[in-house]
Symmetry: C2
Subunit: 123 residues, 2 copies
Amino acid sequence: MAEEFAKGFATSYYDQFDRDRTGLATLYRDSSVLTFEGVQHVGVAAIVAKLKDLNERFSNVKHQVGVVDAQPTSTTPPGLFVLVTGLLIVDDGNPLQFSQAFHLIQEGENITVANDVFRLVYG
Amino acid sequence: MAEEFAKGFATSYYDQFDRDRTGLATLYRDSSVLTFEGVQHVGVAAIVAKLKDLNERFSNVKHQVGVVDAQPTSTTPPGLFVLVTGLLIVDDGNPLQFSQAFHLIQEGENITVANDVFRLVYG
Protein backbone atom coordinates (compact mmCIF):
# COMPACT_ATOMS: atom_id res chain seq x y z
CA MET A 1 0.00 0.00 0.00
CA ALA A 2 2.75 2.47 1.03
CA GLU A 3 4.89 1.17 -1.85
CA GLU A 4 2.09 1.55 -4.40
CA PHE A 5 1.29 5.06 -3.25
CA ALA A 6 4.97 6.03 -3.30
CA LYS A 7 5.44 4.63 -6.81
CA GLY A 8 2.48 6.69 -8.01
CA PHE A 9 3.87 9.75 -6.25
CA ALA A 10 7.32 9.25 -7.82
CA THR A 11 5.87 8.81 -11.31
CA SER A 12 3.78 11.99 -11.00
CA TYR A 13 6.62 13.94 -9.38
CA TYR A 14 9.19 13.20 -12.08
CA ASP A 15 6.66 13.59 -14.92
CA GLN A 16 5.90 17.06 -13.58
CA PHE A 17 9.60 17.79 -12.97
CA ASP A 18 10.53 16.85 -16.50
CA ARG A 19 7.66 18.85 -18.06
CA ASP A 20 7.56 21.98 -15.86
CA ARG A 21 9.40 22.02 -12.56
CA THR A 22 7.58 25.09 -11.26
CA GLY A 23 4.39 22.99 -11.22
CA LEU A 24 5.86 21.14 -8.21
CA ALA A 25 5.31 24.24 -6.05
CA THR A 26 1.95 22.98 -4.79
CA LEU A 27 3.68 20.04 -3.08
CA TYR A 28 5.86 22.21 -0.81
CA ARG A 29 4.99 24.31 2.25
CA ASP A 30 6.80 27.02 4.22
CA SER A 31 8.19 24.36 6.55
CA SER A 32 9.45 22.16 3.67
CA VAL A 33 13.17 21.61 3.25
CA LEU A 34 14.95 20.67 0.01
CA THR A 35 18.64 19.76 0.02
CA PHE A 36 19.78 19.68 -3.60
CA GLU A 37 23.35 18.51 -4.12
CA GLY A 38 24.26 19.62 -0.60
CA VAL A 39 22.64 23.06 -0.63
CA GLN A 40 19.63 23.55 1.62
CA HIS A 41 16.54 25.52 0.58
CA VAL A 42 13.83 26.14 3.19
CA GLY A 43 10.23 27.03 2.39
CA VAL A 44 8.15 26.98 -0.76
CA ALA A 45 9.50 30.32 -2.12
CA ALA A 46 13.16 29.27 -1.84
CA ILE A 47 12.41 25.82 -3.23
CA VAL A 48 10.53 27.20 -6.23
CA ALA A 49 13.36 29.68 -6.84
CA LYS A 50 15.81 26.75 -6.92
CA LEU A 51 13.60 24.78 -9.30
CA LYS A 52 13.31 27.83 -11.58
CA ASP A 53 17.09 28.21 -11.54
CA LEU A 54 17.41 24.58 -12.64
CA ASN A 55 14.88 25.30 -15.41
CA GLU A 56 17.13 28.00 -16.78
CA ARG A 57 20.32 25.96 -16.61
CA PHE A 58 19.06 22.62 -17.97
CA SER A 59 16.59 22.78 -20.79
CA ASN A 60 15.87 19.10 -21.14
CA VAL A 61 15.77 16.77 -18.13
CA LYS A 62 14.43 13.24 -18.02
CA HIS A 63 14.23 11.06 -14.90
CA GLN A 64 14.01 7.29 -15.20
CA VAL A 65 12.70 5.89 -11.93
CA GLY A 66 14.53 2.71 -10.94
CA VAL A 67 13.47 1.51 -7.50
CA VAL A 68 11.02 3.12 -5.05
CA ASP A 69 11.01 1.97 -1.43
CA ALA A 70 8.45 3.32 1.04
CA GLN A 71 7.58 2.94 4.69
CA PRO A 72 4.86 4.51 6.85
CA THR A 73 6.21 6.88 9.49
CA SER A 74 5.23 6.61 13.16
CA THR A 75 5.40 10.35 13.87
CA THR A 76 2.51 12.87 13.96
CA PRO A 77 1.07 13.81 11.48
CA PRO A 78 1.44 10.48 9.68
CA GLY A 79 3.37 10.20 6.48
CA LEU A 80 5.60 8.18 4.25
CA PHE A 81 9.36 7.79 4.14
CA VAL A 82 10.45 7.20 0.53
CA LEU A 83 13.76 6.45 -1.17
CA VAL A 84 13.97 6.61 -4.97
CA THR A 85 16.99 5.55 -6.99
CA GLY A 86 17.15 6.01 -10.73
CA LEU A 87 18.78 7.63 -13.71
CA LEU A 88 18.82 11.27 -14.75
CA ILE A 89 19.47 12.33 -18.34
CA VAL A 90 20.30 16.01 -18.79
CA ASP A 91 20.32 17.58 -22.25
CA ASP A 92 20.79 14.17 -23.93
CA GLY A 93 24.06 13.47 -22.07
CA ASN A 94 25.06 10.20 -20.44
CA PRO A 95 22.66 8.94 -17.76
CA LEU A 96 23.64 9.92 -14.20
CA GLN A 97 22.63 7.87 -11.18
CA PHE A 98 20.63 9.69 -8.53
CA SER A 99 19.08 9.03 -5.15
CA GLN A 100 16.25 11.11 -3.76
CA ALA A 101 14.69 10.68 -0.35
CA PHE A 102 11.27 12.17 0.47
CA HIS A 103 9.41 12.57 3.71
CA LEU A 104 5.77 12.98 2.69
CA ILE A 105 3.16 14.06 5.19
CA GLN A 106 -0.58 13.94 5.02
CA GLU A 107 -2.32 17.29 5.24
CA GLY A 108 -6.06 16.68 5.11
CA GLU A 109 -6.73 15.32 1.64
CA ASN A 110 -3.32 16.39 0.36
CA ILE A 111 0.17 14.96 0.46
CA THR A 112 2.94 17.49 0.95
CA VAL A 113 6.72 17.13 0.81
CA ALA A 114 8.14 17.93 4.26
CA ASN A 115 11.72 16.79 3.57
CA ASP A 116 13.47 16.23 0.26
CA VAL A 117 17.11 15.33 -0.35
CA PHE A 118 18.51 14.90 -3.86
CA ARG A 119 21.98 13.57 -4.64
CA LEU A 120 23.73 12.44 -7.77
CA VAL A 121 25.62 9.20 -7.06
CA TYR A 122 28.99 9.09 -8.77
CA GLY A 123 30.92 5.90 -9.51
CA MET B 1 24.10 21.34 13.43
CA ALA B 2 21.81 18.68 11.91
CA GLU B 3 24.55 17.87 9.37
CA GLU B 4 27.23 17.54 12.04
CA PHE B 5 25.05 15.31 14.18
CA ALA B 6 24.12 13.15 11.18
CA LYS B 7 27.75 12.78 10.12
CA GLY B 8 28.64 11.62 13.64
CA PHE B 9 25.71 9.23 13.60
CA ALA B 10 26.71 7.80 10.20
CA THR B 11 30.32 7.31 11.30
CA SER B 12 29.26 5.49 14.47
CA TYR B 13 26.60 3.46 12.67
CA TYR B 14 28.90 2.11 9.97
CA ASP B 15 31.80 1.56 12.39
CA GLN B 16 29.47 -0.57 14.49
CA PHE B 17 28.00 -2.28 11.40
CA ASP B 18 31.44 -3.20 10.10
CA ARG B 19 32.64 -4.48 13.50
CA ASP B 20 29.54 -6.24 14.87
CA ARG B 21 26.15 -5.64 13.26
CA THR B 22 24.19 -7.05 16.19
CA GLY B 23 25.46 -4.11 18.27
CA LEU B 24 23.10 -1.89 16.26
CA ALA B 25 20.10 -3.46 18.02
CA THR B 26 19.99 -0.69 20.63
CA LEU B 27 19.16 1.84 17.91
CA TYR B 28 15.93 0.14 16.82
CA ARG B 29 12.51 -0.13 18.50
CA ASP B 30 9.43 -2.29 17.96
CA SER B 31 8.00 0.40 15.66
CA SER B 32 11.20 0.66 13.60
CA VAL B 33 11.15 -0.36 9.95
CA LEU B 34 14.15 -1.48 7.88
CA THR B 35 13.82 -2.02 4.13
CA PHE B 36 16.97 -3.80 2.98
CA GLU B 37 17.23 -4.28 -0.78
CA GLY B 38 13.46 -4.15 -1.11
CA VAL B 39 12.55 -6.50 1.75
CA GLN B 40 10.82 -4.95 4.75
CA HIS B 41 11.63 -5.93 8.35
CA VAL B 42 9.47 -4.45 11.13
CA GLY B 43 10.51 -4.25 14.79
CA VAL B 44 13.79 -4.70 16.60
CA ALA B 45 13.63 -8.54 16.65
CA ALA B 46 13.10 -8.86 12.89
CA ILE B 47 15.72 -6.20 12.17
CA VAL B 48 18.32 -7.89 14.39
CA ALA B 49 17.51 -11.25 12.76
CA LYS B 50 18.18 -9.68 9.35
CA LEU B 51 21.46 -8.16 10.56
CA LYS B 52 22.52 -11.54 11.99
CA ASP B 53 21.69 -13.20 8.66
CA LEU B 54 23.95 -10.67 6.92
CA ASN B 55 26.67 -11.47 9.46
CA GLU B 56 26.58 -15.09 8.45
CA ARG B 57 26.59 -14.46 4.72
CA PHE B 58 29.24 -11.73 4.51
CA SER B 59 32.20 -12.09 6.78
CA ASN B 60 33.96 -8.84 5.99
CA VAL B 61 32.04 -5.66 5.22
CA LYS B 62 33.43 -2.14 5.05
CA HIS B 63 31.38 1.01 4.43
CA GLN B 64 33.04 4.16 3.15
CA VAL B 65 30.76 7.11 3.85
CA GLY B 66 30.66 9.53 0.94
CA VAL B 67 28.12 12.29 1.50
CA VAL B 68 25.72 12.78 4.43
CA ASP B 69 22.80 15.19 4.06
CA ALA B 70 20.51 15.93 6.99
CA GLN B 71 17.44 18.00 7.73
CA PRO B 72 15.38 18.48 10.88
CA THR B 73 11.85 17.06 10.64
CA SER B 74 8.77 19.10 11.50
CA THR B 75 6.75 16.15 12.85
CA THR B 76 6.27 15.08 16.50
CA PRO B 77 8.46 13.82 18.14
CA PRO B 78 11.24 15.80 16.45
CA GLY B 79 13.94 14.07 14.50
CA LEU B 80 16.33 14.09 11.61
CA PHE B 81 15.90 13.06 8.01
CA VAL B 82 19.23 11.73 6.69
CA LEU B 83 20.49 10.51 3.32
CA VAL B 84 23.88 8.80 3.12
CA THR B 85 25.60 7.81 -0.12
CA GLY B 86 28.83 5.89 -0.15
CA LEU B 87 30.72 2.76 -1.07
CA LEU B 88 30.37 -0.74 0.31
CA ILE B 89 33.18 -3.28 0.06
CA VAL B 90 32.13 -6.89 0.75
CA ASP B 91 34.76 -9.59 1.28
CA ASP B 92 37.42 -7.54 -0.54
CA GLY B 93 35.38 -7.37 -3.77
CA ASN B 94 34.88 -4.32 -5.96
CA PRO B 95 33.29 -1.34 -4.20
CA LEU B 96 29.52 -1.11 -4.64
CA GLN B 97 27.63 2.19 -4.47
CA PHE B 98 24.91 2.41 -1.86
CA SER B 99 22.30 4.86 -0.63
CA GLN B 100 20.78 4.66 2.82
CA ALA B 101 18.06 6.93 4.16
CA PHE B 102 17.38 7.19 7.90
CA HIS B 103 14.59 8.81 9.84
CA LEU B 104 16.02 9.35 13.32
CA ILE B 105 13.79 10.38 16.19
CA GLN B 106 14.64 11.75 19.56
CA GLU B 107 13.54 9.61 22.50
CA GLY B 108 14.52 11.41 25.69
CA GLU B 109 18.32 11.44 25.69
CA ASN B 110 18.52 8.81 22.96
CA ILE B 111 18.32 8.80 19.20
CA THR B 112 16.49 5.87 17.66
CA VAL B 113 16.09 4.77 14.05
CA ALA B 114 12.40 4.93 13.13
CA ASN B 115 12.81 4.36 9.37
CA ASP B 116 15.76 2.90 7.48
CA VAL B 117 15.99 2.12 3.77
CA PHE B 118 19.13 0.60 2.24
CA ARG B 119 19.73 0.18 -1.49
CA LEU B 120 22.70 -0.73 -3.60
CA VAL B 121 22.88 1.63 -6.60
CA TYR B 122 23.91 -0.15 -9.77
CA GLY B 123 25.38 1.57 -12.83
